[in-house]
């Protein structure tokens, strides 16, 4: 196990470096748009031509040095203009191009919101997906299975933003009720906060439940075909014992990976839900940054998300190897 962990950690480092390079380069192919946009927004200064303003702005944003220097500064292995090291390695993602506010602070203050949404969604997804997925597998090709599978595909097909929109429209017409849109922190009023988060959370969760349900079903089916299940039946065990004690335990291992793999989808979904339900989370920060073409924020969020996911994937893989010894010895 130890050598497996070491090997996995060894592999994560080049991937992490690549992640930073991809993040950095992604926004460097930008044509002059952000500069033009900002110059258009700046108060016209006396006696400055467009080129001069552009050069000044480039210098202020640190875009006047070669790309590799910019990258090294951003990562934190070369000193910034003021001589200090403020890069990723120092836990500094820079500041917003527009508001000059530090990106890390902004992200940290928004994490609880996105996290709360994510936890509600994940819980909903698992509560819905596991029982239905298992039922669907042990009653394969029955009416119940068809209904469950159709439901699963429906969860995937019906877009969350549509349901989110309808939640605003229909109750308002029928009962004159609209979901609250003013963000209430969890510490201020727990009840109101939960009411506010539960609707977008459940919508996201149901969307996620679709693929989780399908995977649970597939994994269960795979396990149910194994010889040890036949043995269990042959021993004369009750269905309950066969399913719970023999099949479920083995089927759940790969399902962990799948739930882990769903997190990127969850993050995307949260961006949309935060937008609709006006929750000041990370997704909303990202979408606003896209609108303003604030590339510093965009890079910062992309990098943070990718690193979090990379570590999550590692943890999932490790837990997988820990739960299933067959993996380690490959």
């Amino acid at each position: 196990m130890r050598s497996y962990i070491m090997r996995r950690f060894g592999l994560i480092i080049p991937t992490l470096i690549l992640v930073t390079i991809i993040t950095f380069l992604m926004v460097r192919f930008v044509p002059g748009s952000i500069l033009d946009l900002m110059i258009g927004d700046m108060p016209p200064e006396e006696g400055l031509t467009y080129e001069e303003m552009k050069a000044e702005l480039e210098a202020r944003l640190g875009l006047d040095v070669p790309v590799y220097t910019q990258y090294a500064r951003w990562v934190g292995i070369l000193p910034q203009k003021d001589g200090g090291f403020h890069g990723m390695l120092q836990g500094d993602l820079g500041e917003s191009l527009w508001t000059r506010r530090p990106i890390v602070d902004e992200i940290l203050s928004r994490i609880p919101i996105s996290l709360e949404l994510g936890i509600i969604a994940l819980t909903t997804a698992m509560l819905v997906a596991f029982p239905i997925g298992i039922y669907s597998a042990i009653r394969q090709d029955t009416i119940g299975d068809y209904i469950s599978r159709s439901f699963a595909i429906m969860c995937i097909a019906v877009p969350g933003f549509w349901i989110g929109t309808l939640v605003f429209v229909l109750p308002s017409i029928w009962w004159n009720w609209t979901p609250p849109v003013e963000y209430i922190p969890i510490g201020k009023d727990f009840g109101k906060n939960i009411v506010q988060f539960i609707i977008p959370g459940i919508i996201m969760g149901t969307q996620m439940a679709g693929s989780t349900m399908r995977m649970t079903r597939t994994m269960m089916l795979e396990v149910l075909r194994q010889d040890y299940i036949k043995t269990a039946w042959a021993k004369g065990l009750k269905e309950r014992a066969v399913i719970v004690r023999h099949a479920l335990k083995n089927a759940m291992i790969p399902v962990i990976t799948i739930v882990g793999g769903q997190v990127p989808v969850l993050i995307g979904g949260s961006a949309i839900m935060e937008q609709i339900f006006v929750l000041p989370g990370i997704g909303q920060y990202m979408v606003n940054a896209i609108g303003q073409r604030d590339y510093a924020i965009i890079s910062g969020i992309n990098l943070m998300m990718a690193s979090v996911l990379l570590i999550l994937i590692l943890l999932v893989d490790l837990s997988y190897a820990w739960l299933d010894p067959r993996i380690r010895y490959r």
Binding site: I22, V27, V30, S150, A157, W162, L221, G268
Partner: protein
């Protein structure tokens, strides 16, 4: 194989096998997958509506009716009109065209990219494969929607741009699937044989590997359809996808339209309904096709309901 043995062989297998691959597939598909067939019909309908939108739509997608704002459903406007006074049904029909282009274009581009990366990386193996795979690993760490939004912010919105962005994004992720298919195929004897007679790598890839990974590629293509349509709608919903006035189902649910939805709920209902039905159909279709093409997932002897110890199903 001589002429005689060929006949002998043909006589010994069932009549069904004489049909071509695709005809046989279609036959089995309709017979064994009723839900998948419904999905296929929905997809075909999308194509028909998308292609002949000009003929089917009663009005132009940007044709406004003065004094006809937010009109309810009527015989003139089956789905009502929007806040600018445009016929909603016409806009949904033209929206089908956008979804069709994005769905097919993205799936085709994505599958092509996956295939190329998968073929090269899987077949050559070694250091090259290792480097490519680290890149793919890094790429799939980024949440899809954020990467798409980032690229839209850089290259702008529009049907072609969206297809490129979604295709590249999906293609790199999907290359893992193509790669594992290639690796599974390349250890076959016929590949060894081709190598032994000195066939060049490109010829082995095209003549021996590619035809044998067709099934996963077809699956990838169909499975990608619904996802691509949904992704475009999500981006357009956030306001960065297809620029107005071109109607996109996602875009129709966003922006200024949202303020009028309580007055005119049809504006909120129909675009989402169209989107849901199409994505549902595409996913059903892709799913059924995968069941048929991927024998590993096909129910067989080990099927639980046909368990040898429980009441056997006939």
């Amino acid at each position: 194989m001589t002429e005689d043995t060929k006949d002998l062989y043909a006589g010994s297998v069932s009549r069904r096998k004489r049909r071509g691959f695709f005809a046989d597939l279609a036959y089995r598909f309709i017979k064994e997958k009723p839900l998948g067939t419904v999905g296929a019909i929905i997809v075909i309908l999308l194509l028909v509506v998308g292609i002949s939108a000009d003929l089917l739509a009663p009005f132009g997608y940007n044709e406004t009716f003065v004094g006809g704002k937010l009109e309810g459903m009527s015989t003139d406007h089956w789905m009502g009109t929007d806040n600018v006074g445009r016929d909603l049904m016409s806009r949904i029909i033209f929206g089908a065209r956008v979804s069709m282009f994005v769905g097919l274009g993205t799936s085709a581009l994505g599958t092509a990219i996956s295939t190329i990366i998968g073929l090269i990386s899987g077949f050559l193996g070694g250091k090259f494969d290792l480097i490519i795979q680290r890149f793919v690993d890094a790429w799939v760490c980024f949440p899809g929607l954020f990467v798409m939004l980032t690229f839209v912010a850089i290259i702008g919105g529009g049907v072609a741009q969206i297809i490129i962005i979604l295709g590249v994004q999906g293609g790199i992720g999907g290359s893992r699937l193509a790669r594992s298919a290639v690796i599974a195929v390349k250890s076959n004897l016929y590949v060894e044989a081709a190598k032994a007679i000195g066939a060049p790598t490109w010829s082995i890839l095209l003549k021996h590997i590619l035809p044998n990974i067709m099934a996963p590629l077809i699956i990838m293509f169909t499975m990608g359809l619904g996802g691509a349509i949904l992704a475009e709608a999500s981006i357009s919903f956030l306001g960065y996808g297809i620029p107005p006035p071109t109607p996109s189902w996602g875009g129709m649910l966003s922006g200024g339209a949202r303020r009028y939805m309580i007055q005119a709920p049809w504006m909120a209902i129909f675009p989402g309904l169209a989107l849901s039905i199409v994505v549902y159909g595409a996913n059903m279709f892709g799913d059924a096709l995968r069941d048929l093409l991927d024998p590993r997932l096909r129910g067989g002897l080990g099927r639980y309901s046909g368990n040898l110890l429980r009441k056997p199903k006939t």
